[in-house]
Amino acid sequence: MSSITTTVAEADGRIPLRGHLRHTGALIRRNLLWIRQDPESMFDALLMPIVFTLLFVYVFGGSIGQALGGGQGQYVQYVIPGMIAMMSMTLSQGVGTGFSQDFNSGVMDRFRSLPIGRGSVLFAKIAVELARMLFATAVLMVVAVLVGFHITSWPGLLATVGLSALFATSIMWVFLTLGVVLKNAQSVQAMGFLVLFPLQFGSSIFAPPRSMPGWLRHFTDYNPLSTLADSARGLMNGGPIAHSVWMTVGWSVAITVVMAPVAIHKFRTKS
């Protein structure tokens, strides 16, 4: 064995914390280089906030705004916090498809035959995806202000971004698991839509659930996307927040506690 190895690993091969940070850093760099190599991969993060904001504000804004007792301006205040919640979930999908590609290209075999913690590969993916999400949120806020959104509370906005990131991280474990288990990126995407669509539209993101039938309201009340959207609205526009924030934190912790070990286990034992 060469001399370099003795200074960085314990005798039992355990990796010290600094080693984990170094490995995760090297893999984050890799994922960022992917973006530089393939700028189109940022299109969704760039265009989704623009397209969705314009669509919802100008297509539904008038009529839902009226139902809210105001107009389009009222709807903008309603829907923009919801969009932050929506994007946190939609963009989380990227970790699954990216992961699936890694497995199919064989580069994952190389990573798994290297003396690095298996978690480093997962954490690096999550970190880069969170950065993408922050970028998308920034784009969203610019568009939001352009269509007339009033940022009434900057701390509220920051808290919203933080809460969304927490929830998104928990959802990413689900998509990482799908990325490991399913055969290719297309299946991950298809499966993702099946999960995402009901959650997104069966929520309070785009319209208040007041007019929905009872059975659906039960679903929307407990849907974590509703609680996240309600939290975002409370934090950014003012209003009650305690219940929805705690529900969202609870969901995030619960999903992470269940899915992170599953993802790591599946990753470790994938043959």
Partner: protein, 342 residues
């Protein structure tokens, strides 16, 4: 190159495999494999597709775990000491790969950092290895733009970053054209010169002879022969005679005639339409002479005649009595020939 070994754990063997078993449902990918690779040597593992070669390499790289049996690499147990083991191996092959979206240099730098080199050392090592594998000019280009040969060279460079004690080469030249294949062979030979132990899997007798000093022949998860290359060649005893008639229309009749005469080796005589040649297995000098005699007696003009190593099929027929990867039959080599000729 034999080395006197003073490491009591490895006991002179860089890789030791005992009774390794791996099943995928009904398929026995490995069915009780034993293997010893001496330090500083190249062990060739020869076998057809599906023989279990890749499964063996994946177990020895800790990518999958065996159902039964033991294996140690550089003294580390694959099951109990995977973390230490990963530090001393390098992996190159049909599956383990480079990141295509990353430039060559970035691939090597990343792996250097993952192997705990300092930034400075990782940079220097990436530069040096690109230079050594003649990839400096392509350093900044994404690996997806590389030719097949360049990809394999980058693969080799990537597996050399950690200065591994044991290197796995899983079918390093499968799918490469002959010129590129020779390039890769040259690189492998140079690496072996530096004292690394190599486990090479291949489907080609020629590749095994070029690179390996010892050979293990596997089929359907079992070792069917093991020994030095020369020893095995002597046991197989065969060669392939490549005959090119001036008139390509003569190829088929000539093949039929030789099979009818029964003066050839174990495998069937085959026609290679691309080169317009006939591949005739022969087991001895006498057979070789008889084949040449028969062709001459037929009055066929020949433009070239060369001898080559026995094909994988010939090796298998001579060692096991059945074709590579074919279902097992209780057939002696002589029966096997009749069966194929029929």
């Amino acid at each position: 190159m034999t080395r006197i070994d003073d490491n009591p754990v490895g006991a002179g063997h860089a890789v030791t495999v005992r009774g390794l078993v791996k099943h995928y449902g009904e398929t026995k990918a490995l069915d009780g494999v034993d293997l010893d690779v001496r330090e500083g040597t190249v062990m060739g593992v020869l076998g057809p597709n599906g023989a279990g070669k890749t499964t063996l390499v994946r177990i020895l790289s800790t990518l999958i775990t065996p159902d039964a049996g033991q294996a140690t690499v550089a003294g580390y147990d694959v099951l109990r000491q995977p973390r230490q083991l990963r530090r001393v191996i390098g992996l190159t092959g049909q599956y383990a790969s480079v990141d295509e979206k990353l430039p060559g240099w970035e691939n090597l730098y990343m792996i250097g950092r993952l192997l705990d080199l300092s930034r400075k050392d990782a940079r220097a090592r990436a530069d040096a290895l690109l230079e050594r594998f003649s990839l400096t000019e392509a350093a900044k280009r994404p690996a997806s733009t590389y030719s097949g040969g360049m990809r394999r060279r980058l693969d080799l460079a990537a597996s050399m970053i950690g200065r591994p004690a044991v290197l796995y080469l899983d079918e390093p030249t499968t799918g490469l054209d002959p010129r590129t294949r020779n390039e890769v062979w040259d690189e492998v030979k140079a690496m072996v010169g530096h004292g690394v132990t190599v486990l090479l899997t291949t489907q080609y007798m020629e590749e095994a002879e070029q690179l390996a000093s010892e050979l293990t022949v596997v089929d359907r998860g079992k070792v069917i022969a093991t020994g030095g290359i020369e020893e095995l060649k002597a046991r197989v005893g065969g060669r392939t005679l490549r005959v090119r008639p001036v008139d390509p229309l003569q190829l088929r009749p000539l093949a039929d005639m030789l099979d009818e005469l029964g003066i050839t080796g174990l495998a069937a005589t085959t026609v290679d339409p691309e080169t317009g040649t006939l591949l005739v297995p022969v087991l001895s000098d006498e057979q070789l002479t008889a084949v040449v005699g028969a062709v001459t007696a037929r009055g066929i003009t020949i433009s070239s005649i060369t001898t080559e190593l026995p094909s994988l099929d010939e090796v298998f027929l001579s060692l096991t009595g059945h074709r590579a990867g074919a279902p097992e039959k209780d057939a002696t080599p002589a029966d096997a020939r009749q069966e194929i000729a029929a």
